[in-house]
C-alpha cells in the first residue's frame, strides 16, 4: 500500500533537548513509516544548529527532510498571549503558518504548550461548530488502555456545553487513534451520585446523559488510575492541577527512595541494585515523558504538543500520531459530530 507523501512540520527549537531529540525522533519515525507512508520532515528553526545536529547522526537513505530557517525562539518563559505578536519569526509561529497555508500536513512541537495552543488556535482557527479547542493528557491505568483526561489547562472556567464538546472530540480521537470502539466517558466529580458537585458538573452531567456518547456517569479522582473510563472530562483548572500533581509523583518517589538509600550502605546497595531497576521497569508507563504528546483538538489542522522533556521516542510517537490523525481525517469526524450534536440540542450556548 502506498500512501501519498505527507509533510510534517517539526518545531526544531521546541523542547528542552532541541534540536537533537527532535532530529533523532524524526529519523526514527521516518524509518518506521518508510514501508507504508513516505513522509518528509520539515524542520523549523535555526538552520545552522539543525544542520550541525544532523551532521552528528547517520541519516538513513529513506530519511527525507528540509529546513526552514527561523531566527527567533519561543522559550518556556514566554507569555503565550504575546508570542504571536512579538515572535512572528519564531520556529513555532512560522511552522504553524506553514500548516495554515497547506505547505505541511501537520505541526508538532515540544515547546511552550500555552504558546502552541494559543498561536495554533488564532492562526488555524477553530473547526466549524467547536466553541473552544482543548488539550488533554494520557494517564496510565491499571487496565490495558490509558485514560485521556480533558481539559488539562487550555480552558479554565469551561461551561457545560464546552465540556460536552471536549468529550465528543476526545471520543473520536480515542476511537480513531487508539482503536477503542465507543470509548467510555466519565465526568470528573466529587462523588458518583447525580446530585454531587458544583453547578458546572451538575449541568454537564445532564447534558452528557442526553448526548450520543458512551457516558458512564460521574467518576472520582481515584478512577483516573483505575481506568474506569477511557476519557475523563473536567474543567482545565482542575485538570491542570491533577496533571501537575501526577507528574510530581515519580519525582517524589525518587526523593523518598534516595533518602532511604542514604541511611546505610546496605540500604544503598539494595535500592541501587534491586529496587531501582525493578521500579524503572514497573513504572515505565507512569513516566509521562514516554507518552508521545497529545493533540490540540478542535483547531483546523493537525497539531500535536509534547512535554518539554520529550525523548526521541516521544518525538517519534508525536510524528506517528500526527500522520495517523491526518490519514484518518480526525477533523472531518469532529466537524460532523459537533455539528450533529449542535443541531440536536434545543438552545445552543457558547
Amino acid at each position: 500500500m502506498s500512501n501519498p507523501l505527507l509533510k510534517i512540520a517539526v518545531d526544531a527549537m521546541g523542547g528542552d533537548f532541541a534540536p537533537m531529540n527532535e532530529i533523532q525522533g524524526a529519523i526514527m519515525a521516518s524509518t518506521l513509516l518508510s514501508e507504508t507512508t513516505p513522509i518528509e520532515i520539515v524542520f523549523f528553526g535555526k538552520e545552522q544548529e539543525i544542520r550541525s545536529a544532523l551532521a552528528k547522526q547517520t541519516l538513513p537513505p529513506s530519511f527525507r527532510y528540509s529546513i526552514i530557517h527561523t531566527d527567533e525562539v519561543i522559550t518556556m518563559e514566554d507569555d503565550p498571549t504575546v508570542v504571536l505578536r512579538k515572535k512572528r519569526n519564531s520556529s513555532m509561529i512560522v511552522g504553524i503558518n506553514a500548516h495554515k497555508d497547506a505547505h505541511v500536513d501537520a505541526f508538532i512541537s515540544a515547546g511552550n504548550t500555552g504558546a502552541v495552543m494559543s498561536a495554533a488556535t488564532v492562526i488555524l482557527g477553530r473547526i466549524n461548530g467547536v466553541s473552544r479547542p482543548t488539550i488533554g493528557a494520557f494517564f496510565p491505568t491499571q487496565q490495558k488502555d490509558p485514560c485521556l483526561l480533558l481539559d488539562v489547562g487550555a480552558n479554565v472556567d469551561s461551561k457545560p456545553k464546552h465540556l460536552v464538546e471536549f468529550c465528543i472530540m476526545g471520543s473520536i480521537y480515542i476511537q480513531e487513534i487508539l482503536g477503542i470502539k465507543n470509548p467510555k466517558v466519565g465526568l470528573l466529580n466529587i462523588g458518583e451520585e447525580e446530585s454531587k458537585g458544583n453547578e458546572v458538573a451538575i449541568e454537564t452531567l445532564a447534558l452528557l446523559k442526553e448526548s450520543p456518547l458512551n457516558f458512564i456517569g460521574n467518576v472520582e479522582g481515584r478512577d483516573i488510575f483505575q481506568g474506569t473510563a477511557h476519557l475523563i472530562v473536567t474543567d482545565g483548572f482542575t485538570g491542570n492541577i491533577v496533571l501537575k500533581f501526577a507528574e510530581s509523583f515519580l519525582g517524589t518517589l525518587k526523593v523518598a527512595f534516595k533518602q532511604f538509600a542514604q541511611k546505610s550502605i546496605w540500604n544503598k546497595l539494595m535500592v541501587g541494585l534491586i529496587v531501582a531497576p525493578i521500579m524503572k521497569k514497573v513504572l515505565k508507563s507512569y513516566d509521562y515523558q514516554e507518552y508521545g504528546g497529545v493533540p490540540l483538538l478542535g483547531v483546523n489542522g493537525v497539531v500535536i504538543i509534547g512535554h518539554g522533556k520529550s525523548t526521541p521516542l516521544a518525538i517519534q510517537n508525536m510524528i506517528l500520531r500526527a500522520v495517523e490523525s491526518k490519514q484518518k481525517n480526525i477533523n472531518d469526524s469532529i466537524r460532523t459530530s459537533i455539528q450533529e450534536y449542535n443541531s440536536s440540542i434545543p438552545t445552543p450556548v457558547s
Copy 2:
C-alpha cells in the same frame, strides 16, 4: 503538671473496623496521656458490641471510659443531608449532641465524613464570623513538614472570601498543633503568574495578598508533594478530586508491582523479599490511613474526622489532636482572627 479531666466522645460505630480499632486507639491514647492529661473516653454506639470488644482487650488501670448506648448506625452509604433527620439515635448524632450540651469536650469519628460534617455544622453551629466550616487533608511532602490541603470536599463553589477564611483557620491549626510559626500559605492554581487561573483564583489571590497571612502566592499541583507551602487552599471540588486521586497512588503502585511479580518466580522473589518491605518503609508517610484524621474547622466545638479505614494508631492520633485542640483553645483563636479579618475588609461578602 496536672490538667483537668477531658471527656472525649468516640463514635464507636464509625470506621470500617469499628468498634475494635476505636477501642484499641482509645486505650493507646489514654495510656500516652495518663501522665499529663487524664481523659475519659465516652464511647457512643451499641453497648453490647462495645462491651464484647472491650472484653477482648487488656484494659490498663489508667483507662477510664463510659458507654452511651445508641441503636442506630450511620453507614458510609447514608446520604449526609438526611442522617440528622432520619438517624437521630445514631452514635454520630447522639455523640455530637452530647458535645453541644457540653457533656464531652470533643468528638471524633472515622465514619461517613459528609455526615459528620453536615451534622456537626448544624448541631454545633458555626464560630461567629465563619461563613463556612472546612475540612482538609494532610499530605506528606519532600520536606520535613506535611502540607494541609483545604478544602477537600466540604465546600464546592467556594467564594474568594471563603477561601481566605479557610486559610486563616488552617494557619491557626498548623501553628498550634504542628508548632509551625507563621505557616506558609499557597493558593492552588495553574501557574505562578498572578494573571493565571479562573475568576475565583484571581480574586482570591488579590484578597490573600492583602491578608495578614504568610501568603507565598500561587502554587501548582506539583507543589503539594514538594512541600512548597504548609497550607495550600483550593475549592472543595478540586481539593476532593486531588485527594482521591492521591489516595489511589499507593493502590495503583501495588497493582503494578503485583503484575510484575506474576511474570516470573525470580520477579516474585525479588518483589516479595526485597522490594515490598523497602517500599513499605519508604512509603509509610504516603499511607493516608496512618494520618490521624483532620479537624472540621469553623464549628463551635472540637470535631476530628478520620478515614474509614483508620487504624488504631490513627484513632489514637485523632484523640491526641482532639485533646490538643481543646487545650489550646483553637476555636478562640479562630474566632478572634476571623473577626479581626472581617473588620479589616471594606465590604464583607458571604
